[in-house]
């Protein structure tokens, strides 16, 4: 059985838009093209109605009230708005923020920006499984703390943080709790009430919607969260985020959220099944394969593995018929290996040797088998070419060697 190449195994980066979503959004380009803020005619009313229906779908997926959803351009903007917006609004109250060293750059760089402007930021350190404990959060909270920001599912490893327990700690200490749920939204259940979440960032293109549309959940009661707007203008979205609403994208986001919510249980089971099958196929037939992540607390579609003694980019070259990503320095602009994997205590060598495979709605078992076969062949070929593999075969301990770092 042949598969159509290239095989897409990078669903954590982005997804194709589901055809049902495309069908739903199309009329809003050419027929129902009104501005949702136009209150004086039917075009505006129709657009507004569609936007509100979408808002309800997105809200329902996280157990929120539609009034608590603010549309943004994507999760990066949502993270910026949540963190800068709270820090600025509560500047009188305190200037301390708590986050984690494996967060996405949209959170880390926003925190670094605030540090340059006088804020104090605590970066909690994860354990080998990529997790932090609620106790670490409790211990870091001070009188000055205004916000805790902990991601739900990690983009590189898929590790899922204990949000409900962290949320409980934050609520007890009356500190606002933000989560970047970009990867987890639509994949695993989220309940902002049960988890005591005050702000939550999400994006459409990770759930088979279009790029360029996201949302920030902002709690309205118990407690009411107030933000300083970061984009000023016509006062859209209750003043939280000005700018004409991208109606077709919003409609699409709503439809994508509806499908994700309705199919979540079944889809998560199927995708996790494929992921576990792939992991088993690879680890049972290839030596020295390390799982980067937590054995249990993982998003359904993530599989991050290190193939020891092979550099990740050279393996990607061999997998030219497969779309996936690597934690290798050579694939990043910075020439540094993945900071997420290093934060989990992985040494640089294994970080260089890592591949992230993310499985999604349209992945088939045939595609997984195809990729597993390729990996078996090329891991073996590249190890035959690896001086490190040769040394290990000769019984040499690589750590005993004084390497010349360059």
């Amino acid at each position: 059985m042949s598969v159509k190449t290239p095989v897409y195994l990078d669903y954590a980066a982005t997804c194709p838009v589901d055809q049902r979503v495309v069908d739903k959004m199309m009329p809003f380009f050419t027929q129902a093209y009104g501005n949702a803020a136009s209150r004086t005619h039917a075009f505006g009313w129709e657009a507004e109605e569609a936007v509100e229906a979408a808002r309800e779908h997105v809200a329902k997926t996280i157990g929120a009230d539609p009034k608590e959803i603010t549309w943004t351009s994507g999760a990066t903007e949502s993270n910026n708005l949540a963190i800068k917006g709270v820090a600025e609004y509560l500047a009188e109250k305190g200037n301390h923020i708590i986050t984690v060293n494996t967060e996405h750059k949209a959170v880390l760089d926003t925190c670094k920006y605030l540090e340059r402007r006088g804020a104090r930021v605590t970066y909690l350190e994860v354990d080998q499984g990529g997790l932090i404990t609620p106790q670490q959060v409790a211990d870091a909270i001070t009188e000055e703390t205004v916000l805790v920001s902990v991601m739900h599912g990690n983009n590189e490893t898929g590790v899922v943080m204990p949000l409900a327990e962290i949320g409980k700690v934050c609520r007890e200490h009356k500190v606002l709790f933000h989560t970047d749920a970009t990867q987890a939204f639509g994949k695993i259940p989220i309940d902002v009430e049960a988890m005591n979440i005050d702000l939550l960032s999400i994006s459409a293109h990770k759930i088979y919607g279009p790029k360029g549309i996201g949302a920030l959940y902002v709690r309205r009661r118990k407690p009411r969260v107030r933000l300083s707007a970061q984009i000023h203008g016509g006062g859209h979205e209750r003043g939280n985020r000005s700018g004409t609403l991208a109606v077709p994208n919003i409609v699409a986001f709503g439809e994508a959220a509806r499908i994700a919510r309705e199919d979540m249980a079944e889809e998560a089971e199927r995708i996790a099944g494929l992921r576990d099958y792939m992991r088993e196929q690879l680890t049972s037939t290839i030596e020295h394969v390390i799982l980067n992540g937590h054995p249990e607390h993982l998003l359904p579609g993530h599989l991050n593995l290190s193939f020891a003694y092979i550099e990740g980019e050279s393996l990607l070259m061999a997998l030219k018929d497969v779309a996936l990503s690597s934690g290798s320095a050579c694939t990043s602009a910075s020439l540094e290996p993945s900071y997420v994997l290093r934060a989990m205590g992985l040494n640089d060598e294994l970080a260089h040797s890592s591949l992230r495979m993310t499985i999604g709605r349209f992945t088939t078992k045939e595609e997984i088998d195809f990729v597993v076969d390729l990996l078996r062949t090329h891991v073996s070929r590249l190890r035959e070419m690896s001086p490190l593999w040769e040394m290990v075969q000769e019984g040499i301990d690589l750590d005993s060697i004084q390497w010349a770092h360059h």
Partner: protein, 136 residues
């Protein structure tokens, strides 16, 4: 990142992959780089009468690193030790059309051949005669 055709060709059909007996007096071994940096090259030469008769490599690294070491083993075969010692990284980078971010791969290949020559010369008493063994 887009690779040049020559890099892809060497990566897919690497020349002279393998090992020579490092305990042979006629063999010089150079190992350069570090696993933590994402590249380690082992380059070996077998010298007879001042001429490199054979060359082998093993490389842990990206496609450009593999291609750089493959290319160098191809070049040095038949060269005198002196000629091989004068290979410049810029020649390797030019031949493989390496982009600026991959220049370090060619530097490593130059270092590897120099280290192999140094090992050979030390073994054969041409420098300080201590036979200091493998060059890291």
């Amino acid at each position: 990142m887009a690779y040049s055709d020559k890099v892809i060709e060497h990566y897919e059909n690497p020349r002279n992959v393998g090992s020579l007996d490092k305990n042979d007096d006629g063999v010089g071994t150079g190992i350069v780089g570090a696993p933590a940096c994402g590249d380690v090259m082992k380059l070996q030469i077998k010298v007879e009468d001042g001429v490199i008769k054979d060359a082998k490599f093993k490389t842990y690294g990206c496609g450009s690193a593999i291609a750089s070491s493959s290319l160098v083993t191809e070049w040095v075969k038949g060269m005198s030790v002196e000629e091989a010692g004068s290979i410049q990284n810029s020649q390797i980078a030019e031949e493989l059309s390496l982009p600026p971010v991959k220049i370090h791969c060619s530097v490593l290949a130059e270092d590897a051949i120099k280290a192999a020559i140094k090992d050979y010369q030390e073994k054969n008493g041409e420098k300080n005669g201590t036979g200091a063994g493998e060059t890291r």
